[in-house]
């Protein structure tokens, strides 16, 4: 079963870390990715650029409007994701629990990825 692990954190939180904490975070991510590659569970993952560089596209007054941002200073945002193919939800949760952002003010959301296929015959 494939799951998406969505990573939420305050953009720029890395700045507020000590040198040790920063090294820890980057090292942990590398280590987890390596382990997931080795176990054959890694399907993909991306980090996203800072939201202030992005664009928001929504209806506004009946028109599709494009605005800069979002700018949500100090608020938790979607910063990236990890996609895994693993045995069970429990295993996906286990992977999420190991992600360093959790210990540094962030959070993870674990959701199954919809299958293009039907279920069993």
């Amino acid at each position: 079963m494939k799951y998406m692990l969505m990573i939420y954190n305050r953009p720029g939180f890395v700045e507020s870390l000590t040198d040790e904490e920063r090294t820890f975070v980057f090292g942990e991510v590398d280590s987890i990715m390596a382990k997931l590659t080795e176990s054959g569970e890694l399907v993909g993952g991306q980090a996203l650029a800072d939201p202030s560089n992005g664009r928001t596209v929504r209806l506004s007054g009946g028109q599709v409007a494009v605005t800069d941002g979002p700018y949500l200073e100090g608020k938790e945002q979607f910063v990236g994701y990890l996609a895994v193919d693993c045995e069970s939800l429990d295993r996906a949760i286990e992977i999420a629990q190991s992600w360093p952002d959790i210990r540094l003010g962030g959070g993870m959301e674990v959701r199954a990825i919809m299958d293009e296929a039907g279920a069993e015959m």
């Binding site: 590659t37 054959g40 890694l42 399907v43 199954a112 919809m114 293009e116 015959m121």
Partner: protein, 426 residues
């Protein structure tokens, strides 16, 4: 040398792959190293044959190339080890036994059978068994298997390496299982083939080898197994089940990939050749021995196939067959299907009654299938409000996009009926 087209070369390679692998393992052991060597030979053929033409003896060509790669791999492995040992003893690097020139041994039919048993070793998880079988016996490349399961190629390569390492660690041997294990091991092989078929069948098609072609692969491998075990009713039953199911392929999905249930399918779009072959196969297989679960499932598919129109379906026979199946190989899916069949014979209340115990089963209570089937029976029973809730619940529970669309459509249909105060048309 003769010319060859792309698809023809691919068919040749897939057929030859397990035979070449069997010969190599027979001679040298070391299944994992041999399997890697055969993969490399296949890739070399894929590149060279379209340019240089197909060799007069394709198998010998593959065997020679694979053997050479194997020697190289063993030599470099020995060289690495010997470099490490060089300080401790004065032994020439090539003193270890190295395979001699490749000679073509007569292909043993049961080499493929041994490979199947090996790839479906109980030490492996089902997904690993599937991946390894597709590569070592199916002759698919890692890339093709990765594409079929929608994972990156490196991920699939890792899974296959780990699977082979696990087999090695478990001390598995390249031989037919002992008599007392044979039935269990064969059941595992059949299950893997069933999984491959299911993976392909339930997917929408695509231009490259994607999941749709897995059904053809599963059928091909099961045919091979049938030839190797011509008296086994369950093997024939599985092939019949696959053919009778695959026959619906063109009728089972509509625009946007929406699922069309059996009762609503345009039967003129069913593949007659597959139905005829499937009916013949199961007809024969049922006479050989007490039917096993695959034969029973094939028999059920046969009863459906014999009905010219959905309303001609012999539901009492289907209900009886599901009852047999539930005694022989009970599982929640069988109960669900049996309930749906019983509802067609004795009315929706009788079907709902059979679903009762499932709701108490923790595994099943929130399974989207149970909720969906119950919703369907509630609708038949006239309890539209409960049915609507059920369809909505099931739509939220499923992780299959086509199923979700189908369930949302049913919910919308009922919701509209309720709001306009008219019974909803199916």
């Amino acid at each position: 040398m003769t010319g060859g087209s792309g698809p023809a070369i691919e068919d040749l390679l897939r057929e030859a792959a397990p035979q070449v692998l069997g010969m190599l393992v027979q001679r040298h052991g070391q299944f994992d190293a041999c399997e890697d060597a055969v993969q490399e030979a296949l890739l070399a053929a894929t590149t060279q044959w379209p340019v240089d033409g197909v060799p007069d003896n394709p198998r010998a060509w593959l065997l020679t190339v694979a053997n050479r790669r194997l020697i190289d791999a063993i030599r470099s492995e020995h060289a690495r080890r010997d470099r490490e040992m060089a300080v401790l003893r004065a032994e020439p690097a090539d003193a270890q036994l190295v395979p001699g020139p490749a000679t073509e041994l007569p292909a043993a039919d049961d080499d493929t059978l041994k490979l199947l048993f090996l790839c479906c070793h109980p030490a492996l998880s089902a997904p690993s068994q599937v991946a390894l079988t597709l590569r070592a016996v199916g002759g698919l490349t890692t890339g093709q298997i990765a594409a079929a399961f929608l994972v990156p190629e490196s991920t699939m390569a890792q899974r296959i390496s780990r699977a082979k390492a696990k087999i090695k660690a478990a001390g598995a041997v390249f031989s037919l299982p002992a008599a007392e294990q044979r039935d269990d091991r064969l059941r595992a092989v059949l299950h893997v083939l069933y999984l491959i078929f299911n993976e392909g069948y339930t997917a929408s098609g695509g231009p490259d080898l994607r999941r749709g072609e897995l059904t053809a692969e599963a059928i091909r491998l099961t045919r091979t197994l049938c030839k190797l075990l011509p008296d086994d009713g369950e093997v024939a039953g599985l092939l019949a089940l696959m053919l009778l199911t695959d026959a619906h392929r063109d009728a089972r999905s509509g625009p946007g990939g929406v699922l069309v249930p059996l009762a609503e399918q345009d039967r003129s779009r069913w593949n007659r050749a597959e139905i005829d072959e499937g009916l013949r196969l199961i007809g024969e297989a049922l006479t050989w021995s007490e039917p096993g679960p695959y034969q029973l499932q094939a028999a059920i598919a046969a009863v459906h196939a014999e009905a010219e129109r959905a309303e001609d379906t012999d539901w009492p026979q289907i209900a009886a067959l599901y009852r047999l199946l539930s005694l022989l190989a009970p599982n929640p899916m069988v109960t669900l299907n049996r309930a749906a069949a019983v509802a067609m014979v004795d009315g929706p209340a009788a079907g709902l009654h059979l679903l009762g115990p499932l709701a108490a089963d923790e595994r099943m209570a929130r399974h989207h299938r149970l909720v969906a089937v119950r919703a369907h029976l509630l609708e038949l029973a006239g309890d539209t409000t409960a049915a609507l809730t059920g369809y909505r619940d099931a739509a939220r529970l499923t992780t299959s996009l086509p199923e979700r669309r189908y369930l949302e459509t049913q919910a919308a249909r009922l919701a509209q009926g309720l709001s306009t105060g008219t019974p909803a048309d199916r």
